[in-house]
Point group: C2
Chain length 223, copies 2
DNA sequence: CTAGCATTCAAACGTTCGTTTGAACCGTGG
DNA sequence: CCACGGTTCAAACGAACGTTTGAATGCTAG
């Protein structure tokens, strides 16, 4: 069993996944044809169906390759926080959730940045099957983080917490997608757009403040 | 010049716009075929090309019908705030921006809710032409609100303000899209999902806190 | 060396897409 | 009454799509 054949064995798969990640980010799923995709990957048109079965299965593989490790890291980060003596602060929990994503943002060469932008867009994907796929992959993570935040913020009604997590998630998703549709980011220094450390500091400050916003108005209106 | 013909004159156009709004929201632009669209609208297949010229022009018309009045209302709201004696507070500015959108959320019958969800998704639309269209329609509004917030928060660096506006916009967009990809909203009372007053209270509290988050960490990291 | 297997390849399949065509329809003004 | 402009209609157009096919290729094991 020679070793030299181990890598090239899956090289075509990897080339397809890399090309798909970038093209899906640029043009969306429907806007990326198999012909364009295989041409960019430098493989035959039939290679996608041979290696993945179908275009839909390729889409799923693109997400699984990045999202499974990312969410595992999120769970591990929470495990580490909860293993300590004192209970984790809300801000620490937010950071544990954010950092696996922001590590990908910092990874320009490996294509992680492409994937993160793709992911940000996919949260609002119309195709039901894709939304379901993402939802399934996130479900255990969201459960754990919801419980952790509920323990860290015992004074907050669970329903309000759920909404604020939703807001936080939206901020992250939109920031990552970073399509600059509303031409805001155009007004900031370009080199800051993908400075992961700076972005993390800005996001954490914003989200932590939002999560801990006073409850007064909401409770009064909800009553 | 008989009056009875004035309304039916554009009935086909309206029927197409209504059907397009709902189908684009459900299946996206690429996922909505002209045949499905015209069937739902109860018009002939060729009607879209006759009345709008092309599918792309129809997409633009769908957005112009709702977005132009919405952004005009945003500008009018800001005018009203700035016409008063004392300068407007940041929270008031946020509310002036949010309320035209939330009025559409409350409009279930007229299809405004459909449009708002469509809009939330389109901020992250891969197709460049559509993003540009939305960006153009938002540009004057964002300029005015950026200036207003900068005056209301003189101590905040402009660059930081731009990022926080970006975060705020993301929160709104994702909340409106409300695809529940991450299965969070599933955990809240269903009737609250479209209670515009409740949503406005929750959003305003969250966004106001985020906008006024302490600057310490960011400035230190940026130095 | 050869048989066997995984992979690659060019070509074609049937379907669906947005758009166009030219005739039919119909209320209105001359 | 007729003729005309705006509108609707069924039918067809060429292009692009995802997928399938069957032969060619190249490495591996016996």
């Amino acid at each position: 069993m020679p070793l030299r054949a181990v890598r090239p064995q899956h090289e075509t798969r990897t080339r397809i996944l890399d090309a798909a990640e970038e093209l899906f980010m640029q043009h969306g799923f429907g806007g990326t044809s198999m012909r364009l995709l295989t041409a960019k990957a430098g493989v035959n048109l039939a290679a996608v169906n041979y290696h993945f079965g179908s275009k839909d299965a390729l889409i799923e593989a693109v997400f699984r390759r990045r999202l499974d490790p990312m969410n595992q890291a999120r769970l591990a980060g929470l495990d580490a926080l909860e293993a300590r003596a004192q209970p984790p602060a809300p801000e620490e929990i937010i950071r544990a959730f954010l950092s696996p994503t922001l590590e990908l943002v910092a990874d320009a060469k490996g294509g992680g940045r492409n994937f993160v932008r793709l992911l940000g867009r996919t949260y609002t994907e119309p195709a039901r099957a894709i939304r379901q796929l993402i939802g399934q992959m996130y479900a255990p993570v969201m459960d754990r983080y919801k419980s952790a935040l509920a323990r860290a913020l015992p004074q907050m009604p669970l329903e309000e917490l759920v909404w604020r997590m939703h807001f936080m998630f939206g901020t992250l998703a939109y920031t990552l997608a970073a399509t600059d549709t509303v031409q805001l980011i155009a007004g900031c220094k370009p080199e800051d757009r993908y400075d992961a450390r700076l972005l993390e500091a800005r996001l954490t400050a914003f989200l932590h403040a939002g999560l801990n916003a006073p409850l007064g108005n909401v409770i009064r209106k909800a009553a």
